[in-house]
């Protein structure tokens, strides 16, 4: 299934991806990561289209990995 893998300790909790997702698949959670940020969580199991917008707007190189069914 389409989904986004979150590398929690690479996320700075800026919420730019949360605002970018057209399907509300991402939310900022309550827990803190190693850097002390409330990191993003993926909640969009059936809705994610693997469009990659969240990855593209995120300032961190490796915080997100987008998986999808379409061929690369």
């Amino acid at each position: 299934m389409n989904h986004v893998e979150i590398h929690r300790d690479e996320c700075k909790g800026c919420a730019v991806c949360v605002a970018a997702c057209p399907h509300g698949c991402l939310v900022i959670g309550d827990t803190l990561n190693l850097m002390g940020y409330q990191y993003v969580e993926f909640v969009g199991n059936d809705r994610c289209t693997a469009c990659g917008l969240c990855f593209t707007v995120c300032p961190e190189p490796g915080a997100l990995v987008v998986y999808g069914m379409k061929k690369v």
């Binding site: 989904h3 800026c14 300032p59 999808g68």
Partner: protein, 473 residues
């Protein structure tokens, strides 16, 4: 069910681990929500897509993105403040295949570096400039930039930028578009996902023009600095859309006229000029003997011991023997005293960087030099030490050590300042990597005071006698 595959992940053009501070960083040093991170990911993904990673040279500026070289797995140079377009020009003239990216902030490009960018654009250099306009000096804590809008409060405009006092914000795209030479000029923004995707298209077009040698390309990217704007990352993006993109910095393509660049005009290595310059030269421009192992030489001592000219002596001699050579001096502000060292590289291959971190030859003229550099010598390296002044033996057992009483030999001949010549003679005679006859010939080229040439040649002979006596050669 079809396989789930990775669709978007970290670019191959970025390092997997960043060797900043600790060796295993995965995150950048940018503040949360900073536009630099997004812009650099876009650039990296286009480098991947155009398959130009192995010939890209990324020029970092001074500013928050000064550390870009920790992130881009490409060639990297960190330029002095505002000077990236000048550095890019130099690379362009020497490496015709390089893809050159100057990445600059608005303080860097439109403030201190205004001259460089205007002239590089005016020459139509086949380079790409990404201009990150966050309307403020980020790194130094939020001073007014040439791009700060009227009325905006910054550290240096506490009551807001005033037109009469500070001038209007400068539109760099507009300014450069008044020149004839540029091929492509566009202003983009990171305000919304849609604009981010457009920015990626502009980045791709700019780099593609460079790949196809279509001339100077310039992409301005309006970019959030949440920290110094004192806004949340999302508010900062909304502020770009509401305040910057309108009248001040309209998003549009200002120029799209691909130029035809004559590839030959870009190269400074013209055979006719090489012949002209080397016709009467003693220097060999080529070497066709068996391959020679490169020498990474560190010569160290105190100022006044002739450390730098010892390096020149090696460099001149090696040039004469057809090596590629670099010579890099390092010294303190004192003319005499203090410590000094010279790094000299002699290689059959072209030399990428003149820095010698791990020498395979160390010439230690005094105690502190041995202390400082002994541990950096490579396995099986050579240490030549001035035993007149160096009191201890090297601790390393995996290197060859030669102790030469250089100061005593020089003093005996009545020219104590020629201890450096003793050391270089010994290096040449013992290792054979330079002919002593070449060293003798170069002494004339290196010496400032020609008066002492004969004295120095005598000291060379005395050194050879000493080495023969001690069966060191």
């Amino acid at each position: 069910m079809p396989d789930v595959q990775i669709q978007y992940s970290k670019s191959a053009s970025m390092y997997q681990l960043f060797f900043r501070k600790e060796n295993d960083q995965k995150t950048t040093h940018y503040c949360p929500g900073c536009g630099h991170g997004t812009a650099q990911k876009l650039i990296a993904s286009v480098i991947d897509e155009l398959a130009i990673q192995d010939r890209t040279v990324f020029l970092s500026p001074v500013g928050c993105s000064v550390f870009s070289y920790y992130y881009f797995d490409t060639g990297n140079i960190q330029c002095s403040h505002g000077r990236a377009p000048a550095v890019a020009t130099g690379i362009r003239r020497t490496l015709s295949d390089a893809i050159i990216i100057a990445y600059q902030g608005d303080g860097d490009l439109a403030g201190i570096g205004m001259t460089e960018i205007v002239h590089a654009a005016n020459r139509g250099e086949n380079i790409t400039v990404f201009f990150i306009n966050n309307a403020i000096y980020g790194m130094t804590g939020g001073q007014m930039a040439p791009t700060t809008p009227i009325g905006v409060k910054t550290l240096t405009t506490p009551e807001g930028r005033s037109k009469s006092r500070d001038g209007n914000p400068i539109g760099m795209c507009e300014l450069l578009a008044s020149l004839q030479a540029p091929a492509y000029i566009e202003r983009c923004s990171l305000s919304t996902p849609k604009q981010v995707l457009r920015t990626r298209l502009a980045i791709k077009k700019a780099l593609d023009y460079q790949v196809r040698k279509k001339g100077f390309s310039f992409v301005e990217i309006l970019s959030p600095c949440p920290t110094n704007w004192r806004m949340s990352p999302l508010d900062a993006r909304a502020w770009i859309a509401g305040e910057l993109e309108g009248d001040i910095f309209p998003l549009k393509c200002f120029r799209d006229v691909p130029q035809e660049i004559q590839p030959d005009s870009l190269s400074v290595i013209r055979p006719d000029i090489v012949t002209l310059l080397t016709k009467d030269s003693i220097l060999k421009t080529s070497y066709d003997g068996p391959p020679r192992a490169p020498k990474y030489i560190k010569i160290a001592g105190f100022g006044g011991q002739g450390v730098l000219s010892a390096g020149e002596l090696v460099a001149f001699s090696a040039l004469e023997e057809g090596f590629n050579v670099s010579w890099l001096p390092s010294y303190g502000p004192e003319m005499r005293g203090g410590s000094a060292n010279a790094s000299v590289i002699c290689s059959d291959e072209p030399i990428g960087s003149p820095v010698v971190d791990c020498p395979n030859v160390l010439i230690a003229m005094n105690n502190p030099s041995l202390e400082l550099f002994e541990n950096s010598v490579t396995n099986n390296g050579i240490i030549v030490l001035n035993s007149s002044l160096v009191e201890r033996k090297p601790r390393r057992t995996d290197v060859k050590t030669y102790a030469i009483p250089a100061t005593d030999i020089a003093k005996k001949a009545g020219l104590v300042s020629a201890a450096n010549v003793v050391m270089i003679t010994a290096l040449a005679a013992i290792t054979g990597f330079l002919h002593v006859s070449t060293v003798k010939h170069s002494i004339g080229n290196v010496l400032r005071k020609k008066l002492y040439t004969d004295k120095n040649l005598e000291i060379v002979e005395n050194t050879l006698s000493y080495l023969r006596e001690k069966e060191m050669m």
